[in-house]
């Protein structure tokens, strides 16, 4: 399979020209963000020309690499064209799929997460807890976007529903985390159906726009209906999750929350995996693949769409309850469109419909900015660049969905 040496393409003049052009374009694009820095108090402006050079150089290099990879693929692609590999497991994945490698790998990962709080500081544990919450959110959105193919840009609304359910129930009735969790989940499902009904007839771009609007409406209601939600000042002093009324120090409580979030993530993985390999899951995939054929196969499109919205929203709402309990303070600013965009990023980057991929993407996207401080400032820029790169190099995501086989095993 190794390509003949003469096929490893040398960059041509055209490649270099294109790469330079890309570099300039990115310099232009990022100019206001990366080069100009305004200090409103001192009323001065710093021009960071070095940043511009970095951006130009890096994007030109990446563009050149992309072109070379593309050329390389085109050269050795004749063979591959025989079997369209759009959704076939990447070789890296096939490597890990044999049980003899998969079991130790899983054990190692499991052990790592189990002893994580013993090895790292509370600060690190806290970051990991947040990342794990995004695993839950990503998997929930994966039901709607990855399985059923319904582009939902207002997913954060259900996250808010969960958080405010707990916040308000605690504020007014003193209810605890464990009571609020199922109530939040149910309310999330209800809101999922409420959103689902008006958008039943919409598809693609139209669906995306309406769901985006829905997300903003929920946030604006929370912001402006002060009597109900305490407006922008939010709800404070929400109780952390309890454990049979045991008193816990802050540190213990954080570790407890970590394990709680792990349990939640595992539960989500379990449930989402079971849903995927079921009659309902197949109906979602059918809807995503071809909605006319899906109906012609006797699937009630309305019911299956509403189920997807409701189940996706349930996970978001439960993650929201967890979020409120973790931060002990919530306000509408936590539930902006940016949040929806990040969760969608996780799903797309991980691989639509792929559970392992979404878990990996959530951890990578949430942890990387924390540990690469230099990146953190330009987080969204990096997210965007990574997504674009991904679409070019491997459009099916980090770890594409594996195909389920039925005949090989028996």
């Amino acid at each position: 399979m190794t390509p003949a040496p003469e096929k490893t393409a040398m960059p041509t003049g055209k490649d270099i020209r294109q790469a330079l052009l890309t570099g300039f374009w990115f310099m232009f694009l990022t100019f206001p963000l990366l080069v100009i820095k305004v200090h409103p108090i001192e009323q001065t402006v710093t021009w960071r020309w070095a940043n511009m050079l970095w951006v130009g150089g890096l994007s030109a290099a990446v563009a050149l690499a992309c072109r070379l990879v593309a050329a390389h693929r085109a050269a050795g692609g004749e063979r591959r064209r025989q079997e369209p590999d759009r959704a076939i497991a990447a070789p890296s994945q096939a490597f890990f799929l044999t049980p003899s490698r998969l079991v130790p790998l899983l054990a190692a990962v499991g052990l790592f997460f189990l002893v994580f709080p013993l090895l790292f500081s509370t600060y690190q544990v806290n970051i990991m807890t947040t990342a794990l919450m995004y695993v839950v959110l990503g998997l929930g959105l994966n039901i709607v976007v990855g399985f059923a193919g319904l582009l939902d840009l207002g997913y954060v609304a259900f996250y808010a529903v969960g958080a405010y359910t707990y916040g308000l129930l605690h504020l007014h009735f003193g209810l605890g985390f464990w009571t609020a969790l199922p109530i939040g989940g149910l309310l999330g499902a209800l809101f999922g159906v409420l959103l689902g009904f008006p958008v039943l007839r919409l598809r693609g771009d139209y669906l995306a726009i309406v769901t985006l609007g829905f997300g903003e409406i929920i946030r604006l209601v929370l912001e402006n209906w002060g009597d109900f939600s305490q407006g922008p000042s939010g709800i404070a002093n929400i109780a952390r999750p309890g454990l049979f009324g045991i008193e816990m120090s802050l540190e213990t409580s954080l570790v407890y929350q970590y394990y709680l979030t792990i349990a939640m993530a595992l539960l989500t993985i379990f449930v989402v995996n079971r849903l995927r390999n079921s009659r309902i899951g197949r109906a979602w995939f059918a809807l995503r693949e071809d909605d006319i054929a899906c109906q012609a196969m006797g699937i009630n499109k309305t019911a299956i769409k509403l189920t997807a919205f409701a189940l996706g929203a349930t996970w978001a709402a439960m993650a929201g309850v967890l979020f409120a309990a973790k931060t002990t303070f919530i306000n509408p600013a936590s539930f902006t469109f940016l949040e929806s965009a990040i969760i969608l990023c996780i799903v797309v980057l991980g691989g639509m419909g792929s559970i392992v991929g979404v878990v990996a993407a959530a951890l990578i996207l949430m942890l990387l900015p924390e540990y690469l401080r230099a990146v953190a400032e330009y987080r969204m820029l990096v997210f965007g660049a990574v997504l674009v790169l991904m679409m070019i190099v491997q459009p099916q995501g980090l770890i594409p969905r594996v195909r389920r086989t039925y005949t090989g095993s028996h």
């Binding site: 079997e83 369209p84 759009r86 959704a87 076939i88 449930v271 079971r274 849903l275 079921s278 009659r279 309902i280 899951g281 197949r282 109906a283 995939f285 059918a286 693949e289 071809d290 006319i292 054929a293 899906c294 109906q295 012609a296 196969m297 006797g298 699937i299 009630n300 499109k301 189920t307 189940l311 195909r403 389920r404 086989t405 039925y406 005949t407 090989g408």
Partner: protein, 262 residues
């Protein structure tokens, strides 16, 4: 014998265009009826009306399953019509490309199975049994159309002729009383057409009623018990293959003088 499907005065307008114009149709169990006519005659539109994808402007659809009370199919949504016993294939193949061959057929079992979200998550005995039956029946159907070997392949990776057969298997998985095939032989080589011929015959022998849109006249003449000819949305002739072969209006509209003329 009482007809399985009775279509009366079916009409479909798209704005000013009348794509189907007061068409009558009858089909008995175990009968193959072919629907022929030039491109744009309204054949596919008629299929879309029968299967609920279009809501007809006028007319009646009545299904009378043997041994069960007859029912009116007017205005039912597509999934209800499939559940009632009409299954179809599409002129432009509409498989689920990123599902496996077997999963494509399993989707067809949807309307004959019942497990819900609870069953999916907790997998009670009933769901496990149902899943096993779904896999078993789907594999059996793949066996029948000769695609069992490729069961775990992505549907998108199948060659063209196999995709057409897979569409038939998927439709059969819904346990239809009436199968509607929209140009199933289009793009097939002679060998594949031969196999399709055998498959359709064996389905008929199982008592299935089949409504067939097809341009391959040899296939149509050999298979059908009855032929309906459409042109400009109207039914211009019907009869046995022998009668159709001689029908002057048909020869004019569709078959071409030099090929079938006296």
């Amino acid at each position: 014998m009482q007809p399985l499907l009775t279509v009366n005065d079916l009409t479909m307008d798209f704005g000013g265009i009348r794509a189907v114009d007061r068409v009558d149709l009858r089909l008995r169990p175990g009968e193959i009826v072919a629907l022929i006519g030039p491109n744009g005659a309204g054949k596919t539109t008629l299929f879309n009306c029968l299967t609920g994808l279009h809501r007809p402007t006028g007319g009646d659809l009545v299904l009378a399953p043997p041994g069960r009370p007859q029912r009116n199919l007017n205005g039912l949504p597509p999934h209800r019509i499939t559940a009632a016993g009409l299954a179809r294939t599409f002129q432009n193949i509409r498989l689920f490309p990123h599902m496996t061959v077997l999963e494509n057929v399993m989707v067809g079992r949807h309307c004959r199975t019942t497990s819900k979200v609870f069953g999916a998550i907790f997998r009670p005995e009933a769901t496990v049994r149902e899943e096993r039956e779904t896999v078993g029946m789907s594999l059996a159907l793949l066996e029948r159309i000769g695609l069992a070997e490729q069961a775990d392949e992505w549907a998108a990776n199948l060659p063209y002729g196999a995709q057409r057969r897979l569409e038939i298997a998927r439709a059969l998985a819904t346990e239809p009383l009436l199968l509607l095939l929209d140009e199933p032989a289009a793009g097939m080589n002679p060998q594949e057409t031969q196999e399709l011929d055998a498959l359709i015959t064996s389905l008929r022998d199982d008592g299935l009623a089949i409504l067939l849109i097809e341009h391959d006249m040899k296939l149509v003449m050999r298979l059908s018990d009855h032929i309906v000819v459409m042109d400009y949305g109207r039914k211009i002739a019907e009869g046995t293959p022998e009668e159709i072969r001689r029908h002057p209006a048909v020869i004019r509209a569709y078959l071409g003088e030099e090929e079938y003329g006296a």
